[in-house]
């Protein structure tokens, strides 16, 4: 039954997507769009969009790149949906409140984040992918796994929770040294936040030391995750334009976009350096 359905779907013109991609997608179509058992009620074959994840620690430049990529993709005629941590309707604000209190324990926080993730995945991301959109994710399950893992929650356990998540088409890792991340974050907000410096872990009373040690632990988790999940690692310390060019090159080749020329609009020009 699945087969006939697939056959029937193939000749129908893609909804706003280049026909080239559709063909390619039909060939490689397999249940591997999920890590393990798909979410209840989801048919992988109906997800025609593309999921692109940008990962990296605080201060790695993710948000900047996502703003620029959104503009570039829209100018190329692709509809874009974004997602990020704590943005779900269901529990986004509750997590903010928990973080503000600093009273939450590690397992509870990990599970609240996974609720937040799956609420966005099921209510926003999957519908977008069904409609053929490009989803740009500002962090994904990898940050959630890394943060929980450095707090001593078993990696296998965490991978087990997220095995029903969708496997991204592309996962970029903007890799920066903790020292560079510190400079950027401090410049941005004139201080370093409680959670960014992992102060719940009692690593050091000195904020700088605590930040460096915590971000180094996160970085090591990312190195492991990068191998396990095949991240495309980029040097996040390069200039915004340089990193952006690299991202566009990879994405263009994945989506079948010919030229990668892009000049940010006036509204975004202050990000370009």
């Amino acid at each position: 039954m699945k087969k006939t359905r697939k056959d029937a779907i193939a000749p129908i013109p893609a909804n706003g997507r280049p026909s080239k991609k559709k063909k390619k997608n039909a060939q490689i179509e397999s249940p591997s769009r999920f890590y393990g058992t798909p979410l209840p009620g989801v048919r992988p074959e109906e997800l025609s969009g593309t999921l692109i994840v940008i990962e990296g620690t605080d201060g790695s430049g993710r948000s900047t790149q996502i703003s620029l990529l959104t503009e570039w993709l829209e100018s190329e005629g692709f509809a874009v949906q974004t997602m990020g941590l704590r943005r779900s309707y269901l529990v986004g604000e509750d997590i903010d409140a928990l973080l503000a209190e600093n009273a939450v324990t590690r397992m509870t926080l990990a599970l609240m984040y996974s609720t937040d993730f799956f609420d966005q995945l099921e209510r926003r991301i999957l519908p977008a992918l069904r409609s053929g959109l490009i989803v740009l994710a500002d962090r994904y399950i990898f940050t959630l796994i890394a943060r929980a893992a450095v707090r001593g929650i078993a990696r296998d356990y965490l991978h087990g929770i997220y095995e029903t998540a969708l496997r991204p088409d592309l996962t970029f890792w903007l890799n920066v040294r903790p020292e560079v991340a510190f400079d950027r974050e401090f410049k941005k907000s004139q201080t370093i936040s409680y959670w960014e410096s992992g102060r719940d872990m009692s690593l050091s009373n000195d904020l700088f030391q605590s930040f460096i040690r915590y971000q180094s632990m996160i970085k090591r988790e990312f190195e492991y995750l990068s191998k396990r999940h095949g991240f495309l690692e980029l040097d996040g310390e390069g200039s915004v334009s340089l990193v952006n060019r690299e991202l566009r090159k990879r994405i263009a080749s994945h989506l079948g976009i010919r030229g990668t020329h892009y000049q940010p609009s006036h509204a975004l020009s202050q990000l370009w350096r």
Binding site: T115, E122, T164
Partner: protein
């Protein structure tokens, strides 16, 4: 869509999943009651609690209802019917984790006898009935300590359902499993949902070492049996009041 994946059983794997918490790495003990709504489990646990309380034992009673932590999210999700099987399950797991990390584990380490009205098996039976993968659920609750005794109160479906329907003017949307789209009639949906849950419980009797209790037996008779079993399986003197 309503049809779940009943080909996989909720019963524990023959090779037990890795337990994040080693069994009895603490001086306390954990006794839990499980069973569908109307099986009589809460009444029996209450009577057990009274018995131990009156005797001056070091006990703590905990039940599975929303803590302030997730109350607002649960209300939001339920009011606007936004919960999917996955987010429903995760939200309850977060709630349980909070209770587990801040109540149950410290009490077990502090040498308390902890009595729990519903435990992880409630989530296994209910969430699997909603269509969550049993394997995924088992992993999700892998951090929970294994109970010393799990009493499973079993009453025939009709008896249990009638007890609930008779005492409640209106069944709630999620409580009745309306999100599964089984039936537009709430009472009918509730019945079918409870039947699935009951079947899931039955599958765990052996693998999870449930102590089967007949929910149709007279209350005081059943309580006598329950107290006897607790006395046999748990070294109660450990929790008894210290003589000065």
């Amino acid at each position: 869509m309503a049809t779940s994946t009943p080909d996989i059983s909720i019963a524990a794997d023959p090779v037990p999943a890795k337990q994040t918490t080693t069994k009895r790495a603490y001086p306390g003990a954990l006794v839990v009651v499980e069973g569908i709504d109307g099986s009589g489990k809460s009444t029996q646990l209450y009577l057990l609690k009274r018995w131990l309380e009156i005797g001056g034992y070091r006990i703590h009673f905990t039940e599975w209802n929303s803590s302030p932590l997730v109350r607002s999210a649960t209300r939001r999700g339920k009011q606007r019917r936004l919960l999917t099987p996955t987010t429903f399950s995760l939200l309850h797991a977060a709630d349980f984790a909070d209770r587990c990390e801040r109540q149950i584990m410290p009490l077990l380490h502090g040498g308390y006898l902890v009595l729990a009205d519903r435990y992880i098996y409630t989530a296994f039976a209910r969430d699997a009935a909603r269509g969550c993968s049993p394997h995924w659920l088992r992993n999700l609750y892998g951090f929970a300590p294994v109970p010393d005794i799990t009493f499973y109160f079993r009453a025939p479906l009709d008896v249990a359902v009638n007890r609930i329907v008779a005492g409640r003017p209106k069944l709630k949307y999620y409580e009745a499993g309306m999100d599964l789209g089984i039936s537009l009639d709430r009472a009918e949906s509730f019945r079918i949902f409870q039947e699935r849950i009951l079947n899931n419980y039955d599958q765990m009797i052996e693998t999870d070492h449930f102590v089967l209790m007949d929910g149709t037996v007279r209350v005081n008779k059943l309580q006598k049996l329950m107290r006897q079993i607790v006395g046999e399986k748990i070294a109660l003197q450990q929790f008894a009041p210290k003589k000065k």
